[in-house]
């Protein structure tokens, strides 16, 4: 009896071992030798609703043409509500996109109970990729902040009542390329900045091997290494000011900043994660300035064109174009700007954000980009990016990604 039991146990052990080996071989065969996505470019039009996209198309190209973002093969709609409101702000929305989790308005990549949420930028860094943030607002504004810092209040850009402020966290997050405005958040009060800790983060940036620039021409002269560009004291100038067209003034255009960021980040053999924001669509929409909204959206779309050109030469690039929320409740009703005798007219129904869905457009390896269709939540976008960086070859459903190992 004892001998029979020993034989049975040995047989069972051998059978289990064979099953495990076979399963491993099957899984290995299913996994490709390299992940399908090498680079991720996430482009966010702050406050850019569907009406803003259509208004820009009508006003700049006509009713039958398409903006660059509209030529991407995959498209869908995105819900944007935050944890505590049907109407989000850029902090909570940026958090959802950056981490795959919702939080309360005004919070940056943290849950209301203080839990710090890992961001997709941080995850990309941990996987050996280079990363970049490019904006036309302050680099410490809510959207970029959500990718490289963690604070309870979005206003803690250059000073915080406790802990580290956004600028300090961002500088030491290991982000290879930082381009935008907001110089005052990095300087002490003695030098015209807002830092009451009197630290000069621009000086500290040199020790972190950043090349620091304040003008377009200086930025264009950089061709390798880490780059910190702070072109204005606060946010950058609007398109309508004429100072951000890449020719006049000293500020680079969003197209130039996007091109430069891609040029530098693409030198990393492991690939990169880049977030580019058309930040001032939101500002113009809060001011209910249709002409301004169209100008900023067109400017953002030109930057999207740069990303599309790169992605077309690098098919392992996941390109995502979306918005964090809609601003202004823009409508196309034949009246307002452009109306009264013209074919189009654009009006606003609010001075604030709205809870309508926003668009998402995507291109890249179909196994990943193909998930950007139908109606999705903004947290799904974050989770798909996480999964694209880890070595899973396919994504079953975004909601199930919460069970994947993101370490």
């Amino acid at each position: 009896m004892r001998r029979v039991r020993r034989i049975f146990i040995k047989t069972a052990v051998v059978a289990v071992a064979i099953c495990l080996v076979a399963t491993s071989l099957i899984v290995q065969a299913a996994l490709p030798s390299a992940p399908p996505v090498r680079n991720i470019i996430l482009m966010i039009g702050d406050g850019m609703g569907v009406a803003a996209i259509r208004a820009t198309q009508l006003d700049t190209k006509g009713p039958d043409a398409r903006l660059s973002m509209e030529t991407l093969p995959y498209s869908g709609l995105v819900t944007t509500h935050s944890l505590n409101s049907s109407i989000t702000d850029s902090a909570a929305a940026g958090t959802a996109l950056a981490t795959g989790y919702k939080t309360n308005n005004r919070m940056i990549s943290m849950l209301p109970d203080g839990t710090i949420l890992r961001t997709v930028l941080e995850y990309a860094e941990s996987k050996g990729k280079s990363t970049g943030l490019v904006v036309t607002s302050r680099i410490t504004d809510a959207t970029p902040a959500a990718f490289a810092s963690h604070v309870m209040n979005r206003e803690w850009e250059g000073k915080a009542p406790y802990g580290k402020d956004i600028a300090l966290q961002m500088l030491y997050a290991g982000v290879e390329v930082l381009l935008g405005g907001g110089r005052m958040e990095f300087l002490p009060t003695a030098l015209g900045g807002v830092r009451i800790d009197e630290r000069n983060l621009i000086s500290e940036a040199f020790a972190l091997h950043y090349t620091y620039v304040e003008t377009r021409d200086d930025m264009l002269a950089v061709h390798q290494g880490n780059l910190l560009g702070l072109f204005t004291k606060s946010r950058m100038d609007t398109v309508q000011s004429g100072l951000r067209d890449g020719v006049h003034g000293t500020e680079p255009s969003l197209v130039q900043m996007t091109s430069k960021a891609i040029e530098l980040l693409d030198q990393d053999p492991e690939g990169f994660f880049l977030m580019v924001e058309g930040s001032l669509i939101d500002l113009e929409a809060h001011d209910n300035d249709a002409e301004g909204v169209i100008a900023e959206t067109a400017d953002f779309d030109a930057a999207v064109g740069v990303a599309i050109a790169f992605a077309s030469r690098h098919p392992s690039t996941l390109l995502i174009v979306t918005a964090d929320h809609e601003t202004g409740g823009m409508a196309i009703n034949g009246l307002g700007y452009g109306g009264e005798g013209s074919r189009y007219g654009f009006v606003f129904t609010s001075t604030g954000h709205t809870g309508t869905m926003v668009a998402v457009f995507a291109s890249g390896p179909p196994v990943v980009a193909g998930h950007f269709t139908g109606v999705m939540d903004n947290t799904d976008i974050g989770r798909i990016m996480f999964a694209a960086i880890c070595r899973f070859p396919s994504i079953d459903h975004p909601r199930r990604l919460q069970f994947l190992d993101f370490s």
Binding site: N84, D89, S90, R106, R154, H286, D287, S350, T351, G352
Partner: protein, 64 residues
């Protein structure tokens, strides 16, 4: 001239030229906890978006 600040995400319920009463709701507080109300009876003279704090600054000229 009294000025109040409301959170921009929710916008503001008044525009330039509006007559407001003391205690009338103008918008949401920056911390999203509660409303911001007019401190005086008066006329709204300016509503400016402040990108620094993502808020609207509303100036009200007091009228008796």
């Amino acid at each position: 001239m009294p000025a109040v600040r409301v959170e921009a995400s929710r916008g503001t319920s008044v525009k330039v030229g509006d007559l407001v009463k003391r205690g009338q709701k103008l918008g949401i507080a920056l911390d999203f906890r509660g409303s911001v109300t007019s401190p005086v009876d008066g006329v709204v003279r300016s509503v400016d978006f402040d990108s620094e704090t993502h808020s609207f600054v509303i100036k009200i000229e007091e009228q008796h």
